[in-house]
Symmetry: C2
């Protein structure tokens, strides 16, 4: 606590990705010394020469704290954990092929930490996971690997990350942070520590409450995106423009939040987090029917988009098989360079399996690999590439897309994002979701 | 249009309930002459002597426009429709016993209007119903009964009501109003007419879009209440206080809106509207799985609350059978006098069937009838009535309830509304949802 109050505390951050790097920068900017532990050598080297690999972060931000103030350094060597008073875990928590939680990154981080940490270390987990992970999964691994005892030799906390890539208003520093310390001492340390870098703190009674908070936030999004996707499909059949409906509903000044349909859910949070909860619920003999139903809708969306493309081509007496299809946008949301869990890729895979010739253009993503290992490279968005396509599919509404130009040149468009706002449902050449 | 612009237009409003009466007052306050058509003689008489039967409306409001400005009068005589330039339909749209739309109130209103209206009448429907009702259900009835022709002799519009009982900020006048005129002329008239009384108008392209808007708004609420009810039940098993989780999640400054669990959904909108959509979707061979799942969760909630009461009594080695149970609050939400579709009533019916002796107290609802026709009368909330109850169940969190007093006197409490905020999940005498 003393080292926290005089800012001589040394913070280790395990994992310098979308969560860890902004957090490391937030602490370093607050004049706290940060060591970033990152097993991917390309990333740790990039940091040490002041190069960013995340679209929300400028090289300048990194240069200033790495080269000028020298508050941040990155390493692949986990023995340096022993120099740290605090270790914050920001590693991925994906699903495996069977859509079950894959805690192996957390497990490996805990082993590395347990084997190297000094007594008196405060450990905080930021990776999204199901309630009880900190108490029942992290704690035993750390105790086993370190031989130390909770609340005597080390402290534990769960504090969910709330990074929203592309959000210009809310960054790490000014987004309220939920803190779930395990025990009173951990709660006090958590408050002191995070208070150095983050403006608004919101302590809760336990790690499991904090774990549930994050899952509630993202389950809320999953459920609402699924609902609107389902309603979009019905609206299409009823000749109702769902985008017009949403904009009108959004004029209600209370009790409504607008969500928009699309080719499916993407990113590292919404497609995964709710299924962490569904998994642990089974241990409590509890079926989460809302999450299950929402998941089913979203799993089907890429196939429904494929069907829409196929019926659009049908209007021109063409089949998917042999058609030339150009996808615009691979990122899972506008104006970012992240293609994780992007539904566009799933649509591409499916139409390719049906025999279509596929290209994509995304100004932020030069290259991408599908789940079955095939590599795709972004093409330039020339007039030729548009006019040659039998169908152009708008899968991400990057603001830089020149929509009037695309509409003018394309033979046929399937617009899954309402990028073309001034037409309703469909006309001769445009099909909207 | 001329009579609209010089405010000599005469507006008829069919149905002076929670929607029609505030709307009638809004027009009358704008110096438009309004005739209210209300088949319930007690209501039309009440209006004519300046008495309100809705908690959001004062007697004074009615007195001023009925007795002073004389802009509003009520009648049970539908032949006076012939005096009106405009008729607005604000009748109930309930579900029948099989949870199918019951459009009989709309049908009867349309017959009354069709038989009595003069050429040049503008008809607007505000009752929530499934998309296509205005075009495919109202129009043929009016044309058949009147012998007149749409767009030549009369005009149609759907404009969803957005009344939120108990809302102190948003009233009829200052809540943006969606207008779905059928055809260009109807759109222009709708804008002119509603503009007399309502500040913000939002015209959409068709009645079916406007019909869908209202259902989207309320389906959004149904889905999110169902989700949080399901998560509340899981959280209980995991020893997580869902109320604490929701408050923490609500600190997220974007992308989250808080909903709270309870004994089920109530009121005239959320339990009904989504099932109107589910009904029409079947005609399009479309299953709305999210609404269906949400409906199933909410149908079960009263039974789950009964189980919770039973297990609370079990802690005191008592059975439901023969226990004395006091319910606090019958209204479906705090501080209003409306018990329509109130889940409290469903819980009461169930515990009574299991042999419990039931009383209720609600300062706003003196008497209430259950679905099977049994009548209940509110008891005074005396110390005796609380101490004599084997279990007190908080079903509505009216702000006037003296919670510390109730906690002090009650043997056992089941709190379905987080009225008792400072305890987590449960203690010896308090059980929270």
């Amino acid at each position: 606590m003393e080292r926290i109050s005089n800012k001589t505390v040394k913070v280790g951050i395990v994992g310098l990705g979308y969560v860890g790097l902004p957090l490391a920068i937030a602490f370093a900017k607050s004049e706290v010394t940060v060591i970033g532990f990152e097993k991917d050598e390309r990333k740790s080297n990039a940091i040490n020469i002041g190069k960013s690999y995340i679209s929300d972060i400028d090289d300048d931000d990194i240069l200033r704290i790495v080269k000028v103030s020298k508050k941040l350094s990155a390493t692949t060597d986990f023995t340096a954990i022993q120099e740290c008073d605090v270790v914050i875990i920001c590693v991925p928590t994906p699903l495996n092929k069977f859509k079950e939680p894959d805690l192996s990154y957390i497990e490996n981080a805990c082993i590395d930490i347990g084997r190297n940490m000094k007594p008196g270390t405060f450990i905080s987990l930021e990776s999204t996971t199901f309630p009880t992970t900190t108490e029942n999964y992290i704690r035993p691994i750390i105790e086993r690997e370190s031989g130390m005892i909770l609340d005597k030799d080390f402290w534990l906390c769960f504090s969910p990350e709330r990074i929203d890539p592309g959000n210009k208003t809310f960054k790490t520093e000014n987004t309220p942070k939920v803190l779930g310390g395990l025990g009173e001492e951990a709660k006090n340390i958590a408050r002191g520590l995070y208070g150095l870098a983050i403006q608004h703190l919101y302590p809760v009674s336990s790690p499991r409450v904090a774990e549930m908070v994050k899952i509630l936030e993202n389950t809320y999004r999953l459920i609402n995106i699924s609902l609107i996707n389902e309603l979009a499909l019905l609206a299409g059949r009823m000749n109702i423009d769902i985008w017009e409906v949403i904009d009108a509903a959004a004029t209600k000044p209370y009790g409504f939040q607008a969500f928009y349909p699309g080719p499916g859910i993407g990113g590292h949070c919404i497609p995964l987090d709710p299924f962490y909860l569904e998994y642990i619920a089974k241990i409590y003999n509890f079926d989460l029917s809302m999450i299950h139903t929402a998941g089913a809708i979203n799993n089907l969306m890429p196939y429904r988009i494929m069907t829409k493309i196929s019926f659009a081509l049908n209007r021109h007496k063409k089949s998917l098989n042999g058609s030339n299809i150009l996808f615009l946008g691979i990122a899972y949301k506008p104006d970012i360079n992240d293609a994780r869990e992007s539904p566009a890729l799933l649509v591409i895979e499916q139409v390719e399996r049906k025999g279509a010739v596929v290209h994509y253009h995304d100004p932020y993503i030069q290259e991408v690999m599908s789940e079955n290992g095939k590599r795709y490279t972004s093409v330039e968005l020339s007039e030729d590439i548009i006019t040659n396509a039998d169908c152009v599919v708008i899968t991400t509404n990057h603001t830089c897309f020149d929509i009037p130009f695309i509409v003018e040149k394309a033979k046929l468009i399937v617009d899954t994002r309402n990028a073309i706002k001034n037409i309703s449902i469909e006309n001769k050449t445009i099909f909207k979701l």
